[in-house]
């Protein structure tokens, strides 16, 4: 067969992951994925959509069609600030914010979160801090973040930090809880648990539609 120039611009069905949508709908909050009518209310309301590579509406369409790779490596979910504006106004009750969370988790799990954003790093630093101390210190968190992603920026922000510190608004020393072992036991028992609904729950949600 002669090589046709446009071949790579077409999306072939074989490149898609038809199970991706189901993966998302099985997560609490993802059940209404198929109710979306692509009206774009979410994108219009989203204060961050101008900065996203795909608007939230488009992400929903892509999840449904099985564009797993594109969705998980897109910046969209990392820009979501969880303001829930889309979720409360969606005319079909699609919980878009929860779907954004779901794609964040899937991206981290699959190790495809985009490198140029600090958000996954922030999340993980935060995670570590809380897991060991039970509380987080914003100051330490931000410092670590800058050091890990962009040390030069840390310098730029130093003035702000100093001012905050001088007014008693920035603690670098980490606060911690008393009963750390209690927390550790609690979190440990959930090490392998993932938030996926049982088949029965999924079936009921389907009926409710």
């Amino acid at each position: 067969m002669p090589v046709w120039r446009g071949w790579d611009k077409i999306k072939y069905q074989a490149q898609l992951d038809p199970a991706f949508a189901e993966e998302v709908t099985s997560i609490p909050g993802g059940e209404k994925l198929f109710d979306c009518i692509q009206c774009g209310t979410c994108s219009g309301l989203c204060p961050l959509s101008p900065y996203m590579d795909f608007t939230p509406r488009k992400i929903i369409a892509m999840i449904r069609a099985g564009f797993k790779g594109e969705v998980l490596s897109s910046h969209t979910c990392w820009l979501c600030a969880s303001c829930y504006a889309c979720t409360v106004e969606c005319p079909k009750g699609v919980k878009i914010t929860e779907i954004m969370y779901a794609t964040k988790r899937l991206a981290i799990r699959e190790g495809v979160s985009p490198k140029r954003f600090a958000i996954p790093v922030l999340a993980e630093e935060f995670f570590r801090d809380v897991e060991s101390n039970g509380r987080n210190s914003e100051g330490r968190l931000i410092m670590k973040l800058y050091l890990k992603t962009n040390p030069f920026k840390a310098l730029k922000q130093a003035t702000l930090g100093l001012r905050l510190w001088s007014q008693g608004r920035l603690g670098i020393r980490s606060d911690s809880i008393k009963r750390k072992s209690e927390l550790k036991t609690l979190l440990k028992s959930l090490e392998k648990e993932r938030m996926v609904r049982s088949r029965r729950e999924t079936a009921h949600a389907g009926e409710a539609k």
Binding site: Q38, C39, G40, T41, S43, G44, L45, T55, P91
Partner: protein, 667 residues
């Protein structure tokens, strides 16, 4: 109905007919197994299966078995009795047996369509068949009673649907009472300037019909009136109509406007309901120049005489015909009718329920109905599209689906807003030359000539942006947005969020059931859908009938409808009413209650329970008795009778007991 020969002496011989209903039943229920099972049941002498028992050959199977003397009672296991009970009763009769020796088992709606597991479905079907068999074995032959039908018709609601139905029936020589709650008939259509897709003038096609109603010898028009009570049943309804006082004698007033001119209020200053507050009226007014009847009325809320009793009453002096009557009282009219058509219409969605579109906050956000008045030549601006400050808009945004297709407000599509928006877009562009932007989710232009109209607008240069508007606001990002309303929406076909500054926003508000729909529904004893629209008997095959015989629906009270559909449905409702009247009689279900004298102790528990006063007590023989003509067959008295003397035809204790035994004991 002739009485068939009673062939029920001795042990019942029951025929069971299990329907495949194509694959509707057969795909889930093992029909052959059900037939086999039916054969094992007591009294069953014949059990058969067939593709479609409701078809002629299917019915013939039943009739032949009766004629052959194989059976004397019939059970059909198929769809809901609400669907085909009448069909099979007729078939039983045609076979030569009393039609009430028949019982249906609903194995489609209640089994095959709602059960996932095949085995469980078959099991449930068997149980229902057994119930029906055991029950029908206890059936008794019954007779339907025939009652004459009153030939007069009541139509509630004088919008285009009510008007059309009234004229159709009146033209056939029947008498019609048309009751309208507003001071004039015409409904929403009277407010429009043009109609889609033909752009013919609404007034030009509506007002001749309105005056035809006024002058028709067979139509009694009661405007400014409401139905207050409905009793009786199909063919014989008794209705009370409350006529609100207009304080102007309808017979004397000629609509000359003299009283209005001479009212002590020199300037009109009260919100004009007809123009939705876009203009003002006086306390004495005529809603609009083509109002029918063309009779003035006084609003006691604003009239000085009613408020203080100290008005100079210049209106009274101005009226040469002495039509003004401050003493006028509400009047209750009682009428008897045989059929009723409800055409009570709709109300528009309250746009303040979606705060992010700014209706009520920003003066230049209008509803589509308000724009209808603005573009109307006889409207408050004489047909000029004007902003609140009187200026001309250079850019207008029309937002579709306001309050529709949204689980937070109404889930349904209001069906006509797309076309109404296109029409307004055309008119606004024509009148002002403004840039017009339509924000839509989907364009639904499925009527005759509608798609062509859409094509026309595309050619006219009206902008179409596929995206539901996120917000209308006055915060600005660029200089050209200053002082404008900014519409923010994703242009979903491009995948980019756009901000479009406009001078005027039009909200294409959806339709909702009218505010008093719930009262009306209860008064007329009909059901409504989840959203509150009146429920038709069958969405496809009986779209204008209701579950209450003798009451039909026309127009948007049944669901959002545009003018062509409303008129078509009004015609259908009129035909239904005429068919009933022309037949001249109705047959009533024989499921009435009766007293077995020998058991009645005369305790009178039943007498007070009957909502229709159908039970009377005779002190002479210390017995209660039921008037079959008044009894509607609910069975409440039967359940309460402490001695078991009361029974209900078709629902005797014995029959229900047997049905319970049947559904429980055989599978």
């Amino acid at each position: 109905m002739s009485t068939p020969e009673n062939k029920t002496n001795g042990t019942p011989r029951i025929g069971v007919y299990v329907c495949h209903c194509g694959i509707n039943i057969a795909a889930k229920v093992n029909v052959a197994e059900c037939v086999e099972f039916a054969r094992s049941l007591p009294y069953v002498t014949v059990a058969r299966e067939y593709k479609f028992i409701c078809s002629d050959p299917g019915q013939e199977l039943i009739q032949q078995d009766i004629r052959d003397g194989k059976i004397d009672r019939v059970v059909v296991a198929s769809c809901s009795p609400l669907m085909h009970e009448a069909t099979f009763r007729k078939a039983t009769l045609a076979g030569g047996q009393n039609p009430f020796f028949f019982q249906m088992a609903n194995i489609r709606e209640h089994v095959s369509w709602v059960t996932f597991d095949k085995e469980m479905a078959t099991l449930k079907a068997k149980a229902l068949i057994a119930g029906a068999v055991m029950r029908v074995a206890r059936h008794k032959p019954l007779e339907k009673t025939r009652v004459p039908v009153n030939p007069d018709v009541l139509i509630v609601g004088g919008g285009i649907a009510g008007i059309h139905a009234a004229l159709t029936i009146a033209d056939s020589g029947k008498k019609v009472y048309l009751v309208e709650k507003e001071p004039t008939i015409g409904g929403h259509m009277a407010k429009f300037d043009k109609t889609f897709p033909t752009l013919d003038c609404a007034a030009c096609i509506l007002t001749p019909k309105m005056s035809a109603v006024r002058s028709h010898p067979n139509i009694i028009l009661w405007s400014y009136s409401e139905v207050s009570q409905v009793d009786g049943y199909v063919g014989n309804f008794k209705v009370k109509v409350r006529r609100k006082p207009r304080y102007v004698d309808e017979e004397l007033c000629v609509g000359c406007y003299e009283c209005i001119e001479k009212c002590i209020f020199k300037k009109a200053k009260f919100e004009d309901e007809f123009n939705i507050g876009l203009s003002q009226r006086k306390p004495i007014y005529i809603p609009f120049p083509q109002a029918t009847p063309l009779v003035a009325l006084i609003d006691p809320e604003t009239c000085t005489e009613f408020r203080t009793g100290k008005c100079k009453k210049t209106c009274v002096d101005a009226c040469e015909r002495k039509a003004i009557d401050f003493q006028q009282k509400e009047e209750i009219k009682e009428i008897d009718v045989g059929a009723i058509i409800l055409a009570t219409g709709f109300k528009i969605f309250d746009a303040t329920r979606i705060p992010r579109y700014g209706y009520g906050k920003y003066p230049n956000v209008f509803t589509s109905l308000e724009i209808e008045r603005l573009v109307n030549a006889s409207g408050p601006t004489g047909g000029e599209v004007r902003l609140k400050d009187g200026g001309k808009p250079n850019s207008v945004g029309i937002i579709h689906c306001v309050g529709s297709r949204d689980i937070n407000t109404n889930r349904y599509c209001s069906r006509l807003c797309c076309m109404a928006s296109l029409k307004l877009a055309h008119l606004i562009k024509e009148r002002t030359g403004a840039e017009v932007y339509n924000f839509y989710i989907d364009i639904r232009a499925a009527g005759k000539g509608y798609e062509e109209f859409y094509d026309k607008l595309l050619k006219e240069g009206v902008h179409f942006i596929r995206g539901r508007v996120a917000e209308v606001s006055d915060w600005t990002m660029t200089a050209d947005e200053e002082g404008k309303l900014v519409i923010r929406a994703e242009d979903t076909l491009i995948g980019v969020v756009r901000r479009i500054p406009v001078d005027m926003v039009v909200l294409a508000v959806g339709l909702e059931p009218s505010a008093d729909a719930d009262n009306i529904r209860r008064m007329f004893n009909i059901s409504c859908s989840y959203e509150g629209w009146f429920l038709e008997r069958h969405p496809k095959l009986a779209p204008v009938s209701t579950f209450t015989d003798g009451i039909s629906l026309a127009g948007a009270c049944q669901g959002p409808k545009d003018i062509p559909d409303s008129v078509a449905q009004a015609g259908a409702a009129a035909a239904e009413a005429l068919a009933l009247i022309d037949k001249g009689f109705v047959e009533l279900e024989p499921n009435t209650a009766f007293v077995q004298d020998e058991f009645c102790s005369g305790c009178c528990t039943c007498v007070a329970l009957c909502p229709y006063s159908a039970i009377s007590f005779s002190a002479d023989n210390n017995r209660a008795s039921v008037n079959g003509a008044l009894c509607k067959g609910c069975g409440t008295c039967v359940a309460a009778c402490p001695s078991g003397a009361l029974q209900q035809n078709l629902f005797t204790d014995e029959q229900i007991f047997e049905e319970i035994r049947g559904v429980m004991n055989y599978v």
